[in-house]
Each structure stands twice: as C-alpha cells, then as structure tokens.
Amino acid sequence: MALVSLDGVGKTYRGRGGAWEAVRDFTLDLAEGEFFCLLGTSGCGKTTVLNMVAGFEPPTAGRILLDGREVKGPGADRGVVFQGHDSLYDWLSALDNVAFGPRLRGMGRRARRAHAQRFLELVGLAGQGGKHPAELSGGMKQRIQIARALANDPRILLMDEPFGALDALTRATLQGELSRIWAGTGKTVLFITHDIEEACALATRIGVMTRGPGGTLKAVLPVDLPFPRERTSDAFMDVFRRVHALIHEEIVRA
C-alpha cells in the first residue's frame, strides 16, 4: 500500500476576482522510503500540492490519504521544511528549535535536548546548538529546519524548495548532505523544486508538472542512478536531458 496517495486532487481558489484553479486532477502514489521530486515551472501549483499534503489547505476536489487515512489538517506525521527560514523560532536556541517537537509531546528538558543534539549532529551542526537563528547563516538555518523536522520522526518529510534561497555552492553542499541523511534514515521525502539539476541529483523518481493554472502531473520518471550522484556522468546528463525536454515543452507552451 502506498504511504501517501493523492487521488484526483484539485484546488480552486475562489475570491472576489472569481475562481482560480491552481491544481487539477492530480493523482500520485508515494511509496515508503522513496525520494520523490515534484518539478515544475513557477506558478504550476507544486507548492499548493505540498500544502495540501501537509494539511495546511484542504483540496477542493479528490482526496489525500496517508497510511490509508484521509488527511484532515496538519499533523506530526508529516514534517515540513519551509522555503524561507522564517519558520524558525528566533527566541529559541538552535538546539531548542530542534527539540520543539518533542517538547510539544511533553518530553522532559534533558531528554529532549539530548534527543535534539543527535539530530544537530546528523545535519553537521553539533557545536552550534547554543546559537540563536539570527546568529546562523542561511544554509545553517535550513539544516536546523531539517533537523527539527526529523527529530519529530515524521512518516514523511515534505520539503518546499528548501534550498531555493541559497547560493549555488551552499545549495550543492546541502543537496549532498540531504542525500546522505535520506540514505541513512530511510525517510520518505516529497521534495518540491523548479531546479532540474537538483531533482536529478536527489530523486529516486521525478514528477513533472504541466504549467499553471490548473497544473497537473504530466509525467513521472524513475531515476535509477546510484548515490552519490556523479553530476558530470553521461547517465546523469541523459536523465537531465529527458527531464529538461519535458519541462521545456511546458515553457514553450505559452
């Protein structure tokens, strides 16, 4: 059985300016342990798909199941890493940010800090736990977000263009780290991006969306390359070209 399944999901926003269809008839099953990259041009509705899986917004058509139960709102079984780092708690240290989930469940201070420390180590920030978010770089803040989500042991990690605002070198480093963490923890990941190379570097499957409005799933490509991915290899380039062709059709289809 699929871990997450989206069944004919659609989202139409109704406002004073009339109705606007963001996502149309989106159907997809995510298997346990896979790293699924949802790729699309800006405005195609990919973030809306993530927000619906996270439970932040209800779908206006179809339904979303997690472990066979319908998603009715946000919950601890789906950890989210946000695009911006505004989701971190400025008044808490990095360590206490990571310990926030266990704190909500009533874990004692010492136990949750020891727990959080392990996840800070996992994201390579073992010595930075005492710092506050304002004292950390953009890349470090995204690492804290990843640690915070993982420390809560969700069934699936939902990542909304988490590296979009970072410089190219930091982004490449974090992609490598994320691959390593994913391989080590076996977490299921739904990763939203508009960066073809990022998708090719991380994913076990890539889903390409049609352009918006009313974006839907256009094609799903399995990526059978071994990790760590060799970005200059012919096999990698071949995958890149195929994904690029699919995306390019959407850009041209204006």
Partner: protein, 253 residues
C-alpha cells in the same frame, strides 16, 4: 565594551553641547531675566536637592507614573492578545480602541478629577488610561504579525491550538509588547505633567505651576530639566531591559 563606552561618551558630549548652546543663547542672544543660563538653574537645583524638595516632587511624579503604567500594561497586554487572537473579540473591541485613542488623556483630566478628586487616584487613572490603548494596539499588532510559517511549523510538529498560542504566538509578540510599553512610558511623562498642572498638591507639574505663579523662573527650568533627564533615564533603562530580554534573537530592538 568599546561600543558601549563610545555611546556613553557620545551621550555626555551631546548633553554638554546642549548646555553650552543654552548658555550661549541665554547670555548672548536673549539676555533676559525670563531665560536663565544653565549655571543659576543648576545652583537652584542643588539648593532644592539640599532641602529635599526636588526629590519629593520627582518621587511623587514617578510613583504615579509607575503605578498607572503597571496597571495600564497589566490590562492592555491580555486585551491586546485577545484582540489579536480572536476575530470576534477584535470586531467587538476594535471600535473601543479606535474611539478612545482619539480622546487624549489630557482631555480626560476634567473627568478624572470629578470622579477621583485631586488625589493620587486621578493621576494613576490618567496614566493607566494613556498606557492601556498604546499597549493594546502594539500587542494586537504583534499577534497579527506572527509569521504564517512559524504557526504552520508548530502545527506540523503536532502543536495544539493552545500550544501554538503559548509557545509561538506569545513569545513572538513579546518584542511588540515591550515596544508598546516603551511608547506608553513616554506618553505617561506627557500626561503626568498635564495632570499635575491642573490638579495636584505635589509633583513636577505642580512645581512648574507654582513657579509660574510666583515667577520663580529658575524653578521652572529645574523642573523642565528634571523631566527631560528622568524621561531619558527611564527610556534608557527600558531599552536595556528589552535588550537583556530580547536582544539575542532580535538585534533590531
């Protein structure tokens, strides 16, 4: 700390410059008995301090400010939190804040005196009145400004509504509350003088009023300088407190 020493030196130089300009203006430009230079004013202040009179007036004003300020803040913070958190409460109470904030405390002096007499209660009431609306508005704005992703992050870590309020909305609002209180403190200084001018037996406002009646021009300037210095010192103390509390995570405070 080098930066702090530079700041203190800057303050001292700034005050020295102010007094120097005052001296020049009084001795060269105006040369009137109605505008005394700083030196006689400081002499008069020293005499008033030696007699214990200045401390008494300052103490009376400060005590009223502190009492009214604490009452106003204690009432304003929960009201602001409620307005910011619950839409029906906002709809119900926003007309109040929008109505009363255009009736300045100074205009309420007459009512306060009729209700509470010229004793402590009327002054404390006026300070509380001037404090509460500033704190309510700042607090409600703070709750409204909590980032959407901060709340969503808590929700998908499993937070209940109460936990979102207590562990996210409340701490995120603290800098706004403190800023509102700082503004309210400045308003309190304006209000206390007006209140004591009109109806009081002591305090800096009363001192100003008496000095005018008896044409004790130096006394007027002593009271003015005392007000300025008190306000300055209180504001600095408030800023230090805010820094100590929130500076680490909010470098702009």
């Amino acid at each position: 700390m080098n930066g702090r020493a530079a700041t203190v030196a800057g303050y001292l130089a700034g005050f020295a410059l102010l007094f120097a300009l005052w001296h020049l203006a009084a001795t060269l430009l105006v040369r009137s008995a109605l505008f005394p230079p700083p030196l006689p004013v400081l002499e008069r202040a020293a005499a008033l301090i030696a007699d214990g009179i200045l401390q008494e007036q300052v103490g009376a004003s400060l005590r009223r400010i502190l009492q009214g300020f604490l009452i106003g803040s204690a009432a304003g913070i929960p009201i602001g939190l409620a307005i910011g958190s619950f839409r029906p409460v906002r709809a119900l109470l926003e007309p109040w804040t929008e109505f009363f904030r255009f009736i300045p405390a100074v205009a309420m002096i007459t009512v306060a005196v009729i209700w509470f007499g010229i004793g402590e209660e009327s002054k404390v009431f006026l300070i509380a009145y001037t404090t509460v609306f500033v704190v309510v508005i700042a607090t409600a704005a703070g709750v409204g400004a909590v980032g959407r992703d901060k709340i969503r992050a808590a929700q998908c870590l499993g937070a209940t509504r109460l936990q979102v309020f207590r562990l996210v909305a409340l701490p995120a609002t603290v800098p706004y509350i403190l800023t509102g209180m700082r503004l309210a403190m400045a308003n309190s200084f304006v209000t206390i003088v007006a209140a004591e001018l009109v109806a009081s037996n002591d305090g800096l406002g009363k001192m100003l009023w008496d000095a005018r009646l008896f044409m004790q021009i130096e006394d007027i300037f002593v009271a003015l300088v005392a007000l300025g210095l008190l306000g300055f010192a209180t504001d600095r103390l408030f800023r230090l407190a805010i820094r100590a509390f929130a500076g680490r995570f909010n470098p702009t405070m």
